[in-house]
């Protein structure tokens, strides 16, 4: 499913989710999860987790570079995973949600992570955290691209409908073998080749009633209730609202058709995506002129904070860039990069370079980042 601005599509998400899950289990082995029970430690743990995850994802990203496309825009699975990790860093409440889930599970059955089923339980919680964050990221980007309001829940609903359509498409393709359910979806007895199968050439041609009937018949034919008919009732209101479903199916279909020939748009964005900052500064200056006095706006925006960054030793600066932009941003000059990897040096290497310990470097890096965000003076 493509919607304006969104990056996380079902077919690639499976891989992104598995990669994030596998790396998370790997890094959690290095950590005593009892710390999660103390909410005062959550911020520090998030800092540790995002560092450790970025480190674990680096070799995977290098190995998979240009190989596995995680969406139809050509972003790789590893890029999508890293992007989500950076979002997590910027949106700590999602980490807070994960911590709550760990605390609640611990309250029920103790240190579950060291039990036999521990990996699975932990992976499930990591999956949930990133799935919710993914919907938030996609809904934000959808709003930025369209100017229309959209909640993470609505994005989740779009995904559900898209998945339902794919299921129906699959049943239609094998209609003879699935004659019972296809008949139930179409609401009539099949007397030979159903014309609807030929007519439904895209999601725009899928009727809302079919989605509702497909979901209603999933328990009978597929073994478990369809998404509109589960106990959780998450989508229960939709099953009485075919107009809403039809509207959403049409939107997915329209944009799919529109965007099929416009793949270049995103690349144009990447050429020099930061030129918009010039427009931003001009707009800020225009307002200041208008009110004829300088406004105090965020330190992060007036350049003073960035100037302060220039006074930090190179090791700290590179650690800051690595934390905020990742190890391999296109904008990095060659002399910042480690020739053997083409990426910024690791924290260990930077610590050696700066003549300090890794914890000291990390502390100075985080203090600098706080100043950049204007969180401290």
């Amino acid at each position: 499913m493509r919607l304006p601005g969104t990056r996380y599509q079902e077919h690639g998400w499976e891989h992104v989710r598995k990669l994030l899950g596998a790396c998370s289990l790997e890094v959690f082995r290095e950590c005593d999860l009892h710390q999660m029970l103390d909410s005062a430690l959550h911020a520090g743990l998030l800092d540790w987790y995002t560092d450790a995850m970025a480190h674990a994802l680096r070799p995977v990203a290098r190995r998979l570079r240009g190989e596995t496309a995680g969406n139809s825009y050509g972003d790789s699975v590893a890029e999508l995973a890293l992007a989500l990790l950076f979002e997590l860093q910027a949106q700590p409440s999602f980490w807070g949600g994960f911590a709550c889930a760990v605390v609640a599970e611990h309250a029920r059955c103790g240190a579950f992570w060291s039990t036999e089923a521990g990996d699975g339980m932990l992976r499930k919680k990591v999956n949930d955290m990133f799935a919710v964050l993914r919907d938030k990221v996609d809904s934000d980007n959808y709003q930025a691209a369209t100017g229309r309001d959209c909640s993470p829940n609505k994005i989740y609903t779009y995904r559900m409908l898209d998945t339902a359509y794919r299921e129906i498409e699959g049943l239609f393709a094998n209609w003879e073998r699935n004659a019972g359910q296809v008949g139930a979806i179409l609401g009539r007895e099949l007397g030979g080749y159903p014309i609807e199968v030929r007519q439904m050439t895209s999601i725009a041609g899928c009727r809302a009633e079919w989605i509702i009937r497909w979901s209603a018949t999933q328990e009978q034919f597929g073994g478990s209730p369809g998404p509109l008919h589960t106990r959780s009732k998450r989508f229960a209101s939709l099953k009485n609202n075919p107009d809403k479903i039809a509207e959403m199916l049409t939107e997915i279909g329209d944009y799919e058709e529109l965007s099929a020939n416009q793949d270049g748009d995103w690349q144009q964005d990447a050429e020099d995506a930061t030129v918009w900052l010039e427009d931003y500064w001009r707009v800020v200056a225009d307002t200041n002129e208008e009110v004829s006095r300088p406004l105090s706006y965020d330190r992060a925006q007036d350049g003073a904070a960035l100037a302060a960054l220039q006074n930090e030793p190179l090791a700290v600066r590179l650690a800051v860039f690595q934390k905020l932009l990742g190890p391999a941003d296109d904008s990095y000059p060659d002399d910042w990069r480690d020739p053997s990897t083409g990426e910024l040096p690791t924290m260990q290497q930077l610590a050696v370079m700066g003549g300090v310990s890794v914890p000291t470097l990390r502390k100075r890096r985080n203090e600098t980042i706080d100043r950049l965000y204007g969180r401290v003076n």
Binding site: A90, D140, A144, G147, L277, Y280, V283, T287, Q301, G303
Partner: protein, 182 residues
């Protein structure tokens, strides 16, 4: 330019609970084109909302692309317009229209008026730079040449023997507008 990337990140990657689009597109577009500055409270609202900043970013990039990218616009005579007298044509990008006005009674000729839509992303730039523009029919003959006036219009006498509808039908049914200095 890693510094700029970093600044972008600092502006956009912040968690603001309950963030939503706080300014209308029209407000952002006016600020971008310079036609109306944001008020101090509007600017404060923009800076406090990463989501609205992302929308601003999107609109700014879109605007830059179409300003830098305007090499011309084109349109087609629609089938429906063959049935009756042709009074206007619009380019496919919706940024331009051509209007045809029969001259006063007794007089045989037509006037043709080129009109730039104010909402076109490149409108402010063209109004500022006043380039020489040229309208061509489907076979490359010049229908009109001139500069836009302060209303974003350019009016000229119709130079052909056929009336506009017949003329465009005979000449490939298409038309285009481009800067003349190429």
């Amino acid at each position: 330019m890693p510094d700029r990337k970093l600044q972008e990140r600092l502006l956009l990657a912040r968690e603001v609970p309950g963030d939503r689009l706080v300014l209308e597109d029209s407000v952002l577009l006016e600020a971008l084109s310079g036609s109306r500055a944001l008020s101090a409270p509007q600017l404060a609202a923009l800076q406090a909302s990463p989501l609205t900043l992302k929308r601003f970013r999107h609109l700014a990039l879109q605007r830059r692309r179409s300003v830098a990218g305007w090499r011309g616009s084109a349109g087609m005579l629609r089938a429906a317009s063959t049935a009756q007298a042709l009074d206007s044509l619009v380019t496919d990008d919706g940024c331009w229209s051509l209007h045809f006005v029969a001259a006063d009674a007794g007089d045989e000729g037509w006037q043709v008026i080129l009109k730039l839509e104010a909402s076109a992303a490149f409108a402010a730039q063209l109004m500022r730079e006043q380039p020489l523009l040229r309208v061509l029919d489907g076979q490359g003959s010049v229908v009109l040449q001139g500069r836009l006036d302060a209303d974003g219009e350019c009016e000229r006498p119709w130079a052909f023997a056929d009336d506009p509808s017949e003329h465009f039908q005979r000449r490939g049914a298409g038309f285009s507008i481009e800067p003349a200095g190429r």
